[in-house]
Amino acid sequence: MSTVTVAKPQAKKPGKGSRRMSLPVLLLVIAGVLVLTSVVRLITGADGITSTGQMSTALRLAVPIGLAGLGGLWAERAGVVNIGLEGMMILGTWFGAWAGYQWGPWTGVAFGIIGGMLGGVLHAIATVTFNVNHIVSGVAINILALGTTRYLSKFTFENEPGGSSKQSPQIDSLGTFDIPGLSSALNTLNEKHWFLVSDIAGLIGGLVTDLSPLTVVAVALVPATWWVLWRTAFGLRLRSCGENPVAAESLGVNVYKYKYLAVIISGGFAGLGGAFLSIVASNVYLDGQTAGRGYIGLAAMIFGNWMPGGLALGAGLFGYTDSLNLRGGTTNVHALILLLAILLVFGAAYLLWKKRYTPAVITVVVSALMFLWYTSTNEVPKQVVSATPYIVTLLVLSLSAQSLRMPKADGMPYRRGQGK
């Protein structure tokens, strides 16, 4: 008995210590960025950067990336690296569209999930049963999914009215909805362009305007994943397979079963992300529709330190910068350069405070260059806008990567009984 009571607080400690930022600090940082953004908006007059429409588009673009990221999270928490997310998403787009145009969008969503799961089963067989290198298997799935969907399109979509070998017939919409009263009120508030208030109204307004039911489901899956993985016995066992499968096995956990389940669920998430692309984001399946979102989802997950909340933040950031592409990007990104320059000044001050002078000087120089770029131009080239999401991801990762911690046995081969 006594061992249990002693062991408990000990086990809790590292969990708390490993959290990088406490909640108040995180909220403070977010609030600070919001205020800064608002200031920048007032200086530059680029009202687009926090408009309701922008935020709404950002959410729509973030959902598939977030779903792919959640898929990666499930697999990697059980110790299987899943670079086949892209392929599973492709399967999701195809199966979603194929079932969607025949039997309605919700059936399409279900089939999209099943399609992704098929990819997951394949990945699980290769990585768990045969212990093939996880990345190799993932790459193979990506090739296979591409070939299979193109092949199948020739037999299905090509013979349908409105379809071709590269495109499916139209799928009925799942419909969208606003929250009555709230959406329009926030939109009005946003259009007043007041300091801070309008920005927050835009941010929240974007989250409640023009919503697809599938978006709501996807957003709800983030806390749901957290709850299942961190608050249930099932989740604990699953994560133990990713941290130390030998120890898990010694405690009676069927590691193979949990890894299989995790990878199949992972495929389901990626498939749902794919179905979202073909059913909600556009209403047809297009060849090459995923455009590398599976990889980006993986990046968002790493960015989020293998945690659902961080991953949602990463997906949101990516969705936001990506949405600039569609809506007045050249002036908005120009405004963001100013934001970046100001943030860099803060960074330099922090580095000075920490007495790290060389990095501080470099930061100041980069910041000065940003200011120069901002003042000497009126807008940025279109290509800078399209590269923005990737540059931002790279920047944020290079600032945060060292404090990230992946599951300990992630990507490692495991054989039943290897601990003996």
């Binding site: 790459v139 296979l144 092949y151």
Partner: protein, 376 residues
């Protein structure tokens, strides 16, 4: 000893052989399931490979696959996953095309200069990922994925008509390169085509790859870091330095991947320049087990599937879908890695059994001797 070697050879051949049979069988099942003849596409594609013009296409394509796959394999040998070969290769090709269109030196200077430009560009782009990994701990997988996308935008920017873009008909290009930078090929007649001169570059790179990895200290360090980082560190290898150097070399080689086509045929970079080569190369490197000879075979097989499959669409009397070749490529990669793993485990188990049997025999022998002693 001789018997042991025979077994090793058998095991080494068994892996790819089983894989190929399995992949063909699975592809036939797919064909059957879609109501097609399960065998005819193979004979159609094999027939294509007997035409010399298709053979030329295959060799030319394989040379590019080969160079790119070498770049991937170099990273693999030290557990670095350079997924960014695609971006490095495209950016290298663009910069080479731009320099080639604006600089006119005599041939013997121009061609080395262009190759240098391609290598430096590729190395620079891969180097960003290398530096980020070494100094900031950013996973090279994610960094190179991002760099691929950024390369696409950068190329779009470079090809604006305000910068280096030149409109040729409906096609946006970087302008035609100066003729001193063209590499002549081996002309096999008008209806057969031309083998790119830089096919030989691929061969040279393959030989260099083998020599550097197997016959130099650097190669040993590189393989050691890949096999066991801690063991390499213990023998005095600076892991960070190795990561950076491997990334730079891998990038430099990827930069060269586009040159056979660029200097040998099209002489300009346009939007129709093949994209996605770097991703294909990953599959090829895996298939060839990172061995220069294996990669060559894999590149030829892949190029064969690529170049022989379009004919399926026009086959008479029954046309087949050429996408079956892509399915086959995916299945081959799968089958190969699974069968390698299975054969490896099987070989290990055999070895264990044999050693076990020998030990048991020795122990039994000892025991009987002891008993004899005891009995005395």
């Amino acid at each position: 000893m001789k018997k042991f070697d025979k077994e090793r050879v058998l095991l080494a051949v068994a892996g790819p052989a089983i894989a190929l049979v399995a992949a063909i069988a699975l592809t036939s099942i797919v064909l059957l399931a879609s109501g097609r003849s399960p065998f005819e596409p193979y004979s159609l594609m094999l027939e294509q490979a007997t035409f010399s013009d298709v053979q030329v296409l295959i060799i030319n394509q394989a040379s590019m696959y080969y160079i790119a796959a070498l770049a991937v394999a170099l990273g693999f040998r030290m557990n670095l996953f350079n997924i960014g070969v695609d971006g490095q290769y495209r950016l290298g090709a663009v910069m080479t095309a731009v320099v080639g269109a604006h600089v006119a030196l005599p041939s013997f200077l121009q061609i080395p200069l262009l190759m240098l430009v391609a290598m430096l560009t590729g190395a620079f782009w891969a180097g960003i990922a290398g530096v980020l990994k070494v100094t900031r701990g950013v996973s090279e997988v994610v960094a190179t994925i991002m760099l691929n996308a950024i390369a696409t935008s950068l190329i779009g920017y470079l090809m604006l008509s305000d910068n280096f873009g030149v409109q040729v008909g409906n096609n946006n290009t970087t302008g035609i390169m100066k003729e001193s930078g063209w590499v002549p090929g081996i002309n096999l007649g008008a209806d057969v085509g031309e083998i790119y001169g830089l096919v030989f570059l691929a061969v040279v790179l393959g030989i260099l790859y083998w020599i550097v990895l197997n016959r130099t200290r650097f190669g040993f360090d590189l393989r050691a870091s890949g096999a066991s980082e801690s063991a390499a560190a213990a023998s005095g290898v600076d892991a960070k330095r190795m990561v950076l150097i491997a990334m730079l070399i891998s990038g430099a080689v990827s930069g060269l991947a586009g040159l056979p086509l660029l200097l040998g045929d099209v002489h300009t970079y346009s939007l129709s320049f093949p994209a996605g080569l770097g991703f294909t190369a990953i599959g090829i490197a895996l298939l060839g087990r990172n061995h220069p000879g294996g990669i060559a075979l894999a590149a030829l097989l892949w190029a064969f599937l690529d170049k022989a499959s379009p004919a399926l669409d026009y086959a008479t009397p029954v046309a087949y879908e050429k996408e079956i070749a892509t399915i086959m490529q995916g299945l081959i990669v799968f089958a190969v890695v699974i069968s390698y793993e299975a054969v490896r485990v099987w070989g290990l188990r055999r070895q264990q059994k044999r050693v076990g049997a020998e030990l048991a025999a020795a122990a039994a022998h000892n025991n009987s001797e002891k008993k004899e002693v005891a009995a005395r």
